[in-house]
């Protein structure tokens, strides 16, 4: 394993800074600092709004300050990782990183750069071919585009009303595929890592969830019946509650 001590990219051509959009739901009052802050990260083309719909308020309601980052426009994997690490480091306390989809891929790389308190990879799109295979089965035309599009069936279950689903879809811009090296860095500071997903996700197949979870030495936490967009789909409360339960347990175990 490389410890990545020589960082010529950062030393000789730092990532150009941008204004970053971060939406936050803070915890008021005394127990402000009782729990670590959570930083939610979507893939490019989505945005902080997707977490602001339900998960941010729900998380804050359970006592965890919650923040969501909108990925910059354009930008390669390195730039997105940079933005996540910059945002995490700007929070008052060591943060828990939670990435969804391609955002989970970004988080997995950020874990090599920032000692997160813990990390959660939700429906992580980290297996290029498995993801591609699953997507092409359900949505061949959308998948083969230069800027691959996801459709309603891939993102949501049938229980989410169609108008709601379409309204969400309309807000997604769909970005170019990110080029990424296969190597996943070992997380610095050895944080506990949880993989969350759905066996019925038509973007990230079950095998892929198993593989990513095994890489971090665990098994995925599964929510059958849900689509890829677990934070927006009907039943969004279950995965976030289970995640926060897991987190609470990990934090108590560590202290």
């Amino acid at each position: 394993m490389s410890h990545d001590l020589l960082r010529f990219d950062d030393w000789t051509s730092p990532v150009p800074p941008v204004e970053r959009e971060v939406l936050s739901r803070l915890v008021e009052g005394e127990d402000e600092h009782e729990h670590p802050p959570l930083l939610f990260v979507t893939g490019p083309g989505v945005g902080a709004w997707a977490f602001a719909e339900h998960w941010l308020a729900h998380t804050a309601g359970r006592g965890f300050p919650a923040h969501a980052l909108t990925p910059r426009e354009g930008g390669d994997l390195r730039a997105h990782v940079h933005d996540v690490v910059q945002t995490a480091a700007s929070l008052p306390r060591q943060a828990v990183l939670i990435g969804h989809g391609v955002g989970a891929l970004v988080v997995s790389r950020a874990l090599g750069r920032y000692p997160a308190r813990a990390a959660v990879l939700v429906a992580p799109a980290m297996d290029r071919w498995a993801t591609f295979g699953a997507a092409i089965k359900t949505n061949p035309l959308g998948t083969l585009r230069g800027r691959p599009r996801l459709n309603r069936k891939q993102l949501f279950s049938a229980s989410l009303p169609a108008e709601e689903a379409d309204a969400y879809l309309a807000r997604m811009t769909f970005a170019h595929r990110l080029a990424f090296p296969k190597q996943v860095p070992s997380p610095v500071g050895k944080p506990p890592v949880l993989v969350v997903g759905s066996p019925d996700d038509r973007v990230v197949p079950r095998k892929s969830l198993d593989r990513v979870a095994a890489h971090y030495g665990g098994a995925p936490l599964l929510f059958p019946g849900m689509g890829h967009a677990l934070m927006l789909d009907a039943g969004w409360a279950e995965p976030i509650d289970a995640t926060l339960d897991w987190l609470t347990k990990e934090l108590t175990a560590a202290s």
Binding site: M1, L6, F8, W11, P14, V15, P17, R93, Q94, R113
Partner: protein, 471 residues
């Protein structure tokens, strides 16, 4: 080649049996046994990184800091802080920040010292380090008790009763830029002489005739500030230097330099490029009376100052040779000339100080220079290390970070797998010094801990790999 002695002497010792420890405590009831906890001295940048990385490796940590807050040198409120009002970094932001906690990317290329302090304060808060630090507490002595453990005596700063506690390891992150090294200048002087450590505010220079002695970064910064404030400024240097600008080709100079290193441009060629770049930009400084450098580019700690040549060119700074002696109201120079400053600032650097350790524990040479493996590990004491005792040709924080990771990993390996620890010591004992400190530099106290940041980080990387937990 230097033999890494301790690895041989100590690592073969079995881990000390607990029963024995208990008995010891019983024998000396006034010593509080902190068992597996590690003692860290100092809560500057190096100490903070050490606490964090030891905690990440599962160690309990007690850090003692004699001041009342974190930040060390960068905390200008501290009496011993060497920074002055206008100090800005000389290493640019990406080469200065901790590798796992970047400075905000909206900050300037060369942040102000108050920003560096706020960065260190945020680092401490972010990782919850404060609860492991005892402020206002000075370590006055640390004595090995024979089984790798240390009896550490602490005392409240400014007096008070002392306390002895026993620790499994001792890591000194006490800094080496706070104890002024003052020159011995013969003769009497009627004006004021201060060391640069006492220089804080440009108001001290206003309307004075100022002589600044020393061509390090401090001396050059103060000469420039004097050029903006004082009536007359002399800058005395005992040799010629390569004054590097902060920017070349529109980019921070250290970033451009690391670009050359990335492409493995050989030293000879880099030296040629350096000379050419300076010749084409600042030009020949001997026309202002400065001596020709007596060394090649890269053979001394980098001096980074774009404004010094500018004020030399404006005649606001007069370059003069070394000072021979004081003569009443005047100062006699090495060439026999006399000048009449009313304020002399000796910017002659700082000396390392380890008053809490017997000199032989860190193999201190007669001139006061500790001799440590990788400038960090005590050669005869496997549970004693120093973090931050380096002067790199880049920012210090990344190197101090990896040093502290290596120290934490070493202590962990020693505790969990003594056999592998023994293998590591064996291997390290054969590491030749030039592999991690290969730059040829002018022989001067200021270069005692000079390292090439790349060579040093490569050596750290190798050491970390050797200590990688078995899969």
């Amino acid at each position: 080649m230097i033999i890494f002695r301790f690895w041989r002497t100590f690592c073969s010792l079995p881990p000390s049996p607990r029963i024995w420890q208990y008995r010891r405590v019983h024998d000396t009831p006034d010593i509080a046994d902190r068992r597996d906890a590690v003692c860290v001295i100092g809560a500057g940048a190096s100490g903070l990184a050490t606490i964090k990385n030891l905690r990440e490796h599962g160690f309990a940590v007690d850090c003692y800091e004699r001041e009342t807050s974190v930040g060390g040198a960068w905390n200008w409120r501290h009496d011993r802080s060497p920074v002055y009002a206008n100090t800005h970094l000389i290493s640019s932001r990406p080469l200065t920040e901790f590798p796992d906690f970047p400075m905000p990317d909206s900050w300037p290329d060369y942040p102000h010292h108050s920003q560096v302090l706020s960065y260190l304060e945020r680092y401490a808060k972010h990782f919850g380090l404060g609860e492991h630090i005892w402020f206002g507490t000075e370590v006055v002595s640390a004595v090995p008790v024979g089984d790798g453990r240390w009896d550490v005596t602490t005392r409240s700063t400014g007096g008070g009763s002392s306390r002895v506690q026993r620790y499994a390891a001792l890591i000194a992150a006490n800094g080496h830029n706070w104890s002024p090294a003052k020159p011995d200048i013969p003769g009497d002087f009627r004006g004021t002489v201060i060391h640069s450590a006492q220089y804080k505010d440009p108001a001290q220079l206003r309307n004075r005739k100022v002589l600044v002695i020393g061509g390090g970064n401090t001396g050059c910064d103060i000469a420039v500030e004097a050029a903006q404030q004082a009536t007359t400024v002399w800058h005395s240097t005992r040799r010629g230097y390569w004054y590097a600008p902060k920017y070349i080709f529109g980019r921070p100079a250290d970033q451009v330099n690391d670009g050359l290193l990335k492409w493995r441009v050989p030293l000879k060629l880099r030296q040629w490029l350096y000379r050419r770049t300076l010749a084409l930009t600042t030009g020949d400084l001997t026309r202002y009376g400065l001596p020709e450098p007596d060394h090649k580019p890269y053979e001394s700690h980098p001096i980074v100052n774009s404004q010094l040549p500018y004020y030399l060119g404006h005649g606001r700074i007069k370059a003069v040779p070394d000072v021979a002696r004081f003569a009443g109201g005047q100062v006699e120079l090495a060439d026999g000339r006399r000048i009449d400053p009313d304020l002399v600032i000796t910017a002659t650097g700082y000396a390392p100080r380890f008053e809490f350790l017997a000199p032989d524990l860190i193999d201190t040479e007669p001139d006061g220079r500790p001799d440590l493996h990788l400038h960090s590990f005590a050669r005869k004491h496997p549970t004693l290390a120093v973090v931050g005792l380096l002067q790199p040709d880049a920012g210090l924080l990344p190197l101090a970070h990896w040093q502290s990771v290596a120290v934490a990993r070493w202590l962990q390996l020693r505790r969990e797998d003594p056999e592998r620890a023994a293998a590591v010591q064996q291997k390290e004992s054969a590491r030749p010094i030039p592999s991690w400190s290969k730059r040829r530099v002018v022989a001067s106290r200021r270069h005692w801990f000079e390292v090439d940041h790349l060579a040093y980080l490569k050596a750290m990387d190798e050491l970390l790999r050797e200590m990688e937990p078995a899969k």
